[in-house]
């Protein structure tokens, strides 16, 4: 009986993680953005110039063949991903998919939205469209307060906070 209640409670928690997006505050270590319209080497300079102005960016690696730019955060900084699309537009191109790697702790307190806290960094992400496996792992990590690394596609057009469609989640060693 007691075991059944626990199992049901865990299932409800997992369901809540899936249905209600999970806000988190995280450090974004890296981001790879698709730059639509970039088709020659001379384009790359303007894109790099604009992306360097995005907060927290330490280095940029443009891949012309892949049509993307990979951003890595400077030490202890978090990339301000919300400014990436505008930087691409100012360079004269169209931003595509943004894949990020974010580090933080998913917490789910009673009745409150789970919060990931990283000292000195104020950036929050909602975990959305989670698969069953990712959903279960998220719930476990939230319950145990484990620091996790999440890799997924960013969604910046949600009503509240930016969303992260996690494709991979693992505990930080």
């Amino acid at each position: 009986m007691k075991r059944g209640i626990l199992r049901n409670g865990f299932a409800l928690l997992a369901f809540a993680v899936l249905v209600a997006p999970v806000p988190s505050e995280a450090r974004i270590e890296s981001a790879t953005v698709v730059v639509e319209g970039m088709a020659c080497p001379f384009c790359a300079f303007g894109i790099e110039k604009r992306l360097k102005k995005v907060g927290g960016v330490g280095s940029i690696e443009v891949n012309l063949g892949a049509g993307s730019a990979a951003l890595t955060a400077s030490d202890e900084d978090s990339i301000d991903v919300s400014n990436i699309p505008e930087a691409i537009r100012k360079a004269g191109f169209t931003p595509g998919t943004i894949e990020v790697t974010a580090v933080g702790t998913i917490s789910a307190e009673d009745g409150e939205r789970p919060l990931l806290e990283v000292s000195g960094i104020d950036q929050e992400l909602l975990l959305v469209n989670l698969s069953d496996g990712i959903e279960r792992k998220s719930a476990e990590f939230a319950a145990n307060g484990v620091e996790v690394r999440v890799i997924g596609v960013l969604h910046l057009h949600l009503e509240e906070l930016p969303g992260l469609e996690a494709a991979k989640i693992e505990a930080v060693e």
């Binding site: 020659c40 001379f42 300079f45």
Partner: protein
């Protein structure tokens, strides 16, 4: 431009009391070339002899310096005219917004016109800054996909009469078409379509220039249709990062010039149509583009006895900052 060159001969002939011949000197057209070349340098592997629709990044500057050599001859008249023009258009471009770019073009000329006279072969020369062009280009249509883009950009510009339009030499005042500047405010407008992929690029431009009167002289209006095809030759396969590109280029320039007016009279021997084909090559790096092309006239249907173009050679360097 070729009829303008001949126009120079016309005025020289008149100064010597001879019968007025035809033609004009390509001074103003040189500036026009400068304009078009300027717009081409917008941060991309662009056409060499005219404009592209691709953007200048907001807050980004581009400097483009070209060296052009033009030669005209094949004069069947007793004057046996022979003209060489060297022009260095210095171009600055700035991205005001993500769609609006401003260009400034300052052409520096060195013109030498040689003619046969009763006293032997004479040369009339002039050099210095020509008319500065200010131009605005707006990217009105933009369709981007990964590794490719389609752009459409109209542009509007004005030639400011900064060049000396009253130069003289030992023979007196230089013919108006030989002057560094036209003395008039001239206006140009046009539109450019660019399709660019990682493997090739096509640019096509249609433009028109309205010339106005100054010094009792008015150059005929000008229209041109340009097309450029650029094919990536190196590297054959794209790896990671930003490799250096080498493009093979083939361009086409169809130019029409209206007849000039001098002292209120239409010069029936000025104006005409010329079609150039221009093979070229481009070396493109992240911050630098080096390029060269030779425009070869394959068709010249000129009014009257205007001088024909032999060729136009162009070397160019562009840099981002």
């Amino acid at each position: 431009m070729f009829d303008r060159m001949a126009k120079g001969s016309l005025e020289m002939t008149e100064e010597r009391g001879g019968r007025a011949s035809s033609g004009e000197f390509p001074a103003v057209v040189m500036v026009w070339f400068g304009v078009l070349l300027a717009v081409a340098g917008t941060g991309f592997a662009a056409s060499i002899t005219f404009s592209t629709a691709l953007p200048v990044t907001k807050g980004q500057g581009i400097v483009r310096i070209q060296s052009k050599f033009l030669e005209f001859g094949a004069d069947s008249s007793p004057l046996d005219r022979d003209l060489t023009v060297r022009v260095v258009p210095v171009v600055g471009a700035w991205g005001v917004t993500q769609k609006l770019a401003l260009f400034g073009i300052a052409p520096i000329f060195d013109k030498n016109l040689r003619v046969s006279t009763a006293l032997g072969r004479r040369t009339r020369s002039v050099s210095g800054l020509g008319d500065v062009t200010v131009l605005a280009r707006y990217t009105a249509v933009q369709r981007d996909r990964r590794g490719k883009t389609l752009r459409f950009a109209p542009f509007l510009g004005v030639d400011v009469p900064t060049g000396d339009d009253d130069a003289t030499d030992a023979l007196g005042r230089l013919p108006q078409p030989l002057q560094l500047g036209s003395g008039s405010w001239d206006y140009n407008l046009g539109a450019i379509v660019t399709r660019q992929t990682l493997d090739w690029q096509v640019d096509s431009s249609l433009s028109y220039k309205v010339n106005s009167e100054a010094n009792d002289f008015e150059f005929g209006d000008e229209a041109r249709f340009d097309f450029s095809y650029q094919k990536r030759l190196r590297p054959r396969e794209l790896g990671g990062g930003v490799p250096r590109f080498v493009y093979g280029v083939l361009e086409s320039n169809l130019l029409w010039h209206g007849r000039n007016e001098a002292a209120g009279r239409v010069d029936l021997d000025s104006g005409g149509t010329t079609w150039y084909l221009a093979p070229g090559i481009q070396y493109v790096r992240r911050r630098l583009v080096l390029e060269g092309a030779i425009q070869i006239p394959v068709l010249q249907d000129l009014n009257g006895a205007a001088l024909e173009s032999d060729f136009i050679g162009t070397l160019s360097a562009r840099a981002n900052f």
